[in-house]
């Protein structure tokens, strides 16, 4: 029972902290433009061009190809193209590790699906007469097994690389080793549960218990796997392991944010309001406490520099 309660608690913490982090990033004020080319939605200019290449660009309709953005995102998320292109020796480990994580998420989704089916009288099983129930059973099995093996290889490789590679070691803190070791133990315990306790079956039961609020028995490896997994879920949103959320903002809100400011637009209203905030900087060329728009109007006061 305590395992179920712990799981509910961790899931709640994860959801709450994740939401808080997303809201925090999303509610930060509109910043000055700082895009970086290539911008993925400029799909007519794959060499990295922008609408600023056009004569009198402001008269032309702005073309934003979302498929272009999606393509770059998918290439990065599912292939880790930048690592593949620039740092192959790192890609060999970071790629299986992340694919292991994605498969782990997919495996959990499949388990939820199976549990829902089971509770409605459809039993996914190797001997099921229905083809789809049989396929689902094997798909879940293969997904889980692949997640554990790839994740284990990836985390072990990254740990070793961070220890041996001088470039990485100087920037790896105890917390980084701790996080990687934690992830390694998740994949390892999952694999052992699979191999030694028929974890797939027990994990299904646990998932059913989770949905119906009924405690289930589980072996030591599965219990270790579940505990490690749910605890990291609750811990992750407070760390930089949440960079997958940040990535949405760094790409959409910074690198690819080339929206022009037009007269009378909502953006202009936002800017006008931001310019009316006071700025508290203290250097002698800034009149501390003045509004940004007032500061922009003033010049030529007594100035002091370093030399």
């Amino acid at each position: 029972m305590w395992l179920l309660l712990l799981t509910y608690t961790c899931l709640l913490v994860f959801a709450g902290a994740l939401t808080w982090r997303i809201i925090r990033y999303a509610s930060l004020p509109l910043h000055l433009r700082w895009e970086l080319y290539p911008v993925a939605h400029e799909s007519n200019r794959p060499y990295g061009g922008s609408y600023l290449e056009e004569l009198e660009w402001w008269h032309l309709p702005r073309q934003v190809n979302l498929w272009g953005e999606l393509g770059v995102f998918l290439r990065e998320i599912f292939f880790f193209h930048e690592y593949f292109r620039r740092r192959r020796s790192y890609w060999y480990f970071v790629y299986p590790f992340h694919i292991g994580l994605f498969l782990l998420v997919a495996w959990i989704v499949l388990l939820v699906l199976e549990a829902v089916l089971f509770l409605n009288g459809f039993i996914p099983h190797a001997l099921a007469l229905n083809f789809w129930l049989k396929a689902l059973y094997y798909l879940t099995l293969v997904t889980g097994l692949a997640a554990f093996i790839l994740g284990l290889l990836g985390t072990a490789g990254l740990l070793i690389k961070r220890i041996l590679d001088e470039d990485l070691r100087g920037y790896t803190d105890p917390i980084d080793y701790f996080n990687l070791a934690w992830l390694l133990l998740i994949f390892l315990s999952g694999l052992l549960a699979y191999l030694l306790e028929d974890g797939s079956f027990a994990a299904r039961e646990f998932m059913q218990g989770l949905l119906t609020f009924k405690p289930v028995e589980s072996g030591p490896f599965l219990a270790a796997f579940i505990i490690l997994l749910i605890l990291i879920l609750a811990y992750m949103p407070f760390t930089r392991m949440l960079h997958y959320v940040a990535k949405y903002f760094t790409y959409h809100n910074v690198r690819w944010d080339d929206r022009p400011n037009t007269r009378g637009s909502r953006m202009e209203k936002k800017i006008t309001s931001l310019l009316q905030q006071p700025a508290g900087w203290s250097a002698s060329h800034i009149q501390s406490g003045s509004k940004w728009n007032e500061l922009a109007e003033k010049t030529g006061l007594e100035d002091k520099t370093s030399r």
């Binding site: 080319y37 200019r45 061009g49 105890p174 800017i271 030399r307």
Partner: protein
């Protein structure tokens, strides 16, 4: 040999943190028997060392005076921490808070960015120049001194850094060992931007402590706001430059030539970097010739700031940036022009077309565009008569970072060169993957103590290699070669590199602008615009 440097070493009070030795620098091409050739970095004298802060790498970029005593040191650190808090606050830093927090909080420390940085690689991989080094120092200071992690937690998270006068002084210098080219950001799978972190660090020092290189602040933005130009040229003095250009144009065309100045209601206000008037008037002349021949309705301005497109604020100070951006727009509004055209100045492109876009509102939000698409339209659509055989020399193109990676203007200049230069050849890599000339973010104009030597030995080294390699099949100095650099700061840097590496004498490598090449190909000029013999090589 380089000693191993850790992040926390920046706080070690004793001695100099790192030293760039000539033998650490990467070898130059075609000079195989002199692997370490190129300029050396002169050591500061004992007197200079005792006066100026140089404990980072023996170089002084900002001329930071050493404090008089303990009290001054403590005040310096206290102000730094106050500034750091402001940098992380909505009110004081709305301008860049979102990208800054995203970059500070999400780096996976994978070092994928390191090899993108030419300063790091060309210096022989000096640890302190690694793109993640200064960012990591800043993160650790934030965790330990602002978030106040306890002793155990700070050890666990690696926030083992001492914040003292030396740490802050070295950080101030370190903020000027990056050209803000943002090549590192381009290579980050997460989107972390170490160039931005450097930019923000510069802002902290300028906006809170009043520390910035004199060439950028006192002689740069402050002088521009007071006299009208960072070159010190007043509206009155501009008149003599205009007369000089008109005289030159008369010689080239064989007829009287008047530049349009302060023509109210013109279609275009053309804003040049005022450095062109002083160092490269042929670029101003080229624009005048092309626009006149194409029948463009344009004007220059003689109003305060109306004749200098530069905005050094973009490199170090949001307030100075906004002041200059607003004045540029006011000049255009008062002249009642329809649009502003930015000449061949890379950072003016980024500041005016990109960053100022979210500063200028209402009647100050006047359409602004690059001059390059208009030049492309004129050349590619045969609006003037050109003879490409007049440019019958090898030409390569240097891509200013601000133009390509930071503004997305990549192909128009290439379409022009392909049409008017029979031997146009790309340097590698190019376009949005280009390397900075080494003079970006103010480096080209910063001349404090031994910084110019560091600049040409380290930050400009990759560009020298690229330029030589672009012409490696024709090394003879008898074959004159042209590096086209459509940016005043890049031209200044390339001029410096040509002089310091003897590229004119050894390889016959010269440089100039884009409009210069177009005007040089104009069929009805009495004299060619590009004069190889009289100083364009910067000798």
């Amino acid at each position: 040999m380089k000693k191993k440097i850790n992040v926390k070493d920046i706080g070690k009070i004793e001695g100099q943190l790192a030293a760039v030795e000539r033998e650490d620098l990467t070898p130059l091409p075609m000079l195989l028997d002199q692997a370490s050739a190129g300029p050396a970095i002169k050591a500061l004298t004992e007197e200079q060392k005792s006066r100026y802060e140089s404990s980072l790498d023996g170089v002084s970029a900002i001329g930071l005076l050493k404090p008089a005593g303990k009290e001054e040191e403590e005040e310096f650190v206290r102000k730094f921490l106050t500034g750091l808090k402001k940098l992380l606050s909505r009110e004081n830093n709305w301008t860049f808070l979102q990208p800054l927090l995203l970059s500070l909080e999400n780096c996976a420390k994978c070092q994928n960015c390191s090899d993108s940085c030419p300063i790091y690689t060309e210096s022989g991989r000096q640890e302190i120049y690694r793109p993640t080094y200064r960012a990591e120092v800043l993160r650790r200071i934030i965790r330990k001194y602002l978030k106040k992690e306890g002793k155990f937690l700070s050890r666990f998270t690696g926030s083992n850094i001492d914040l003292n006068y030396t740490t802050v002084a070295r950080l101030a210098e370190l903020a000027y060992r990056c050209t803000l080219c943002r090549r590192c950001a381009q290579s980050c799978p997460i989107g972390v931007d170490n160039g931005l972190i450097t930019h923000e660090l510069r802002k902290l020092f300028s906006q809170e402590l009043g520390i910035a290189p004199a060439e950028i602040h006192r002689l740069g933005t402050v002088q521009q706001l007071k006299t009208g130009s960072s070159t010190g040229t007043s509206p009155k003095a501009l008149g003599s430059f205009i007369s000089f250009v008109e005289g030159e144009l008369e010689e080239i065309t064989g007829r009287p030539f008047k530049l349009p100045v302060d023509k109210a209601g013109a279609d275009i206000l053309l804003l040049h970097n005022a450095g062109e008037f002083i160092s490269w008037p042929e670029n101003i002349e080229a624009f005048a010739l092309i626009f006149e021949a194409a029948g463009i309705d344009w004007t220059l301005s003689s109003a305060l700031l109306g004749y200098d497109a530069v905005n050094y604020g973009v490199w170090y100070d949001d307030v100075q940036f906004a002041r200059i951006a607003v004045r540029h727009a006011q000049v255009a509004r008062d002249l009642k022009v329809r649009r502003i055209l930015v000449g061949e100045c890379g950072h003016a492109h980024k500041s005016m077309l990109v960053i100022a876009d979210r500063v200028l509102t209402g009647d100050l939000n006047i359409p602004r565009e690059s001059a390059i698409p208009l030049l492309e339209d004129i050349v590619v659509n045969d609006k003037i008569k050109l003879d490409p055989s007049r440019n019958n020399f090898p030409v390569t193109l240097h891509d200013p970072c601000n133009l390509v990676r930071l503004s997305g203007i990549v192909e128009p200049q290439r379409r022009i060169l392909r049409k008017i230069c029979p031997d146009f050849r790309e340097m590698e890599p190019h376009g949005v993957d280009n390397y900075c000339c080494g003079g970006g973010s103010g480096f080209a104009i910063m001349d404090n103590l031994n910084f110019p030597e560091w600049r040409s030995a380290v930050s400009g080294r990759m560009k020298v290699k690229q330029i030589i390699n672009a012409f490696k099949d024709i090394p003879s100095p008898d074959i004159h070669k042209y590096v086209c650099a459509p940016c005043s700061n890049c031209k200044g840097m390339i001029r410096d590199l040509i002089a310091r590496y003897d590229l004119w004498e050894k390889y016959g490598i010269n440089y100039g602008g884009l409009a210069d090449l177009i005007a040089n190909a104009m069929v009805d000029l009495k004299q060619p615009l590009i004069k190889w013999e009289d100083g364009q090589s910067g000798k």
